[in-house]
Every structure is written in C-alpha cells, then in structure tokens.
C-alpha cells in the first residue's frame, strides 16, 4: 500500500502514521526511563559497597541459567515429538 510519494498519502493514512510514530516515541521514552532506573540501582549498589562488575555477572549468569533451562525444555520437547512421530 501507499507506494506513492508521501505527498499523496490520504489524510487518514497521515494521521495513522502520526499516531504510530507518537506511540513508538512514547514507548521508547518508557524504555529509556527503565534503563535509567537500572543504572541507578547499580549506582546505589556501588555506593553501598558492592562490586558492580561481579553484580553484573551474577545477573548475567542467572539469565544464562534461565535460558539454559528453557532451552533444555525445548530440546526435550523436540525429542519427544521426534520420537513420537518416528
């Protein structure tokens, strides 16, 4: 749709475009705020005396372990399906 140049978009389409961009920008703003909150937590932790590098590793490791568990479940599922269909 709307392969035509922008100046030929209908007003309804232009309005839709405006709303879409606005929505994205609002969500990106939200995301940015959450990212800043995360940084704050690390700053506070550092001020408290925690080693932020180690702290980041803890968080990362826990994320990997979670992904690992999920992957294992998926693998198991795949095998069960593969064996069931064989």
């Amino acid at each position: 749709m709307d392969d035509a140049p922008i100046e030929h978009l209908t007003e309804a389409t232009r309005e839709k475009l405006r709303q879409t961009v606005a929505k994205i920008e609002r969500l990106e703003e939200e995301k940015k705020e959450v990212a800043e909150q995360i940084k704050e937590v690390y700053s506070e932790a550092k001020a408290f005396g925690f080693d932020t590098k180690a702290l980041r590793q803890v968080v990362r490791l826990r994320k990997i372990e979670k992904a690992d568990r999920e992957e294992q479940e998926m693998v198991l599922e795949t095998y069960l399906i593969a064996l069931g269909e064989a």
Copy 2:
C-alpha cells in the same frame, strides 16, 4: 564493605544483595516488555501497509532532530545565563 569472603557476609548484606538482584531483574523484565511492545507497534504498522524500514528511519531522524533542538536550547540557556537573563 565486607572484606571477608562471601561466606562471611552478614545476613543483612546478603539480604541487600538479594534485593538488588531482584530489583534489577524486575526492571530488566519491564524493559523487555516495553521492547516487545515497540516491536508489536512496528508489526501492526507493517500489517497496515507501512514500510517499517522507512518508519524506523523517521523515528531515528526525529530523535536526532530532537537532540539537536535540545542542544540548541541548552546553548540558548547558556547564553541567557551568561547575559544574566535566566
């Protein structure tokens, strides 16, 4: 803080650590959700017929322009302060 090996952390410190990790994980989860919402908006826009690549460029461009405006406002403010107007 807590120069002793991990097993010698005080219970209070361990609790603080637990809370910090939990807080970060909760915020990262939030961030992920917002990121997914953004993806959804792009998907919907695509389904509607917008060229998402172009849409992304619009968003990026507006972000840059906004940064420029803020930069300019900052410069303006600096001038105003320098002139004793703010």
Copy 3:
C-alpha cells in the same frame, strides 16, 4: 593520519589500503566457505535420517552449556579477585 581526501594519499598508503581490503575480502570468503561446509554437514545428516531441528538444538544447547561454564569460571575469578583485594 590521512585526513586528506583519498586523492592525496601517498602511493604507499594506497598500496597498504589495497592490501588491507584484499585481506579482509579473502578472510570473508573463507568464512563464507566454512559456513557453507556447515550447511553441507546438516544436509548430509538430514539425508542420513537425522532430525536437523533436533540436531541444531543439540549443537545450540552444547554451546550454551559451554558459555555457561565459561561464565561461571569468570564469575568465580571475579569473586576471587574481589575478595583478595578487599
């Protein structure tokens, strides 16, 4: 260095540039070939009767587990350093 337009590069620099580009292109070619070999192995495995989806998951899972082990070692190291320096 060489902030000047390309037409002002010395011949030595131009030659160096040529060699660098050639080297990169040769290595990218190599990489592409290896990627093709990997695809061939999957094709052969499929022809042999293996479920390639499951096979890919096995490979991915082993990769994750390897990364997990390495991450754990890194975390341990970080803690040892953090505790040793505390």
Copy 4:
C-alpha cells in the same frame, strides 16, 4: 531411520551422531577464528591510521558491486543461453 527412542539407537547411529556434532562444532570454531582474524585486520588498519568505518563501507560497497556484476553476468549468461550461444 531409527524409529525407536534415543536409548534404542544402534551404536553405529550414535557414533554417527557424535561425529556429526563434532564436525559441526569444529567448523563453527573455525568460523569464529576467521571472524576474529577479520577483526584483527580492522584493528591493525586502525592502528595504522585508517578510518575503520570508511574501510568497512568500502568493503561493503565492493561486496554489493561484486554481487551486481555477478547478477549482470548471470543475466548475460541467461541471454546467451536463450540465444543458443552457450
């Protein structure tokens, strides 16, 4: 093949599976090494004074041009075949 559950795979099949995984992992390792070599070339180029961003663009552009040339050659070949010249 081997419709039975995993624990009933023949030893020969299990061995084949092991070899396949090993082969893939070896090739992926190779691929990774080549990728690292490419990064090294860029690092050296940077140390030498080249603008790596521009260098990457050169490489990308040449890749596109090469693809274009091949495309054109393919079209040419198609025409030649269609004309009975090849």
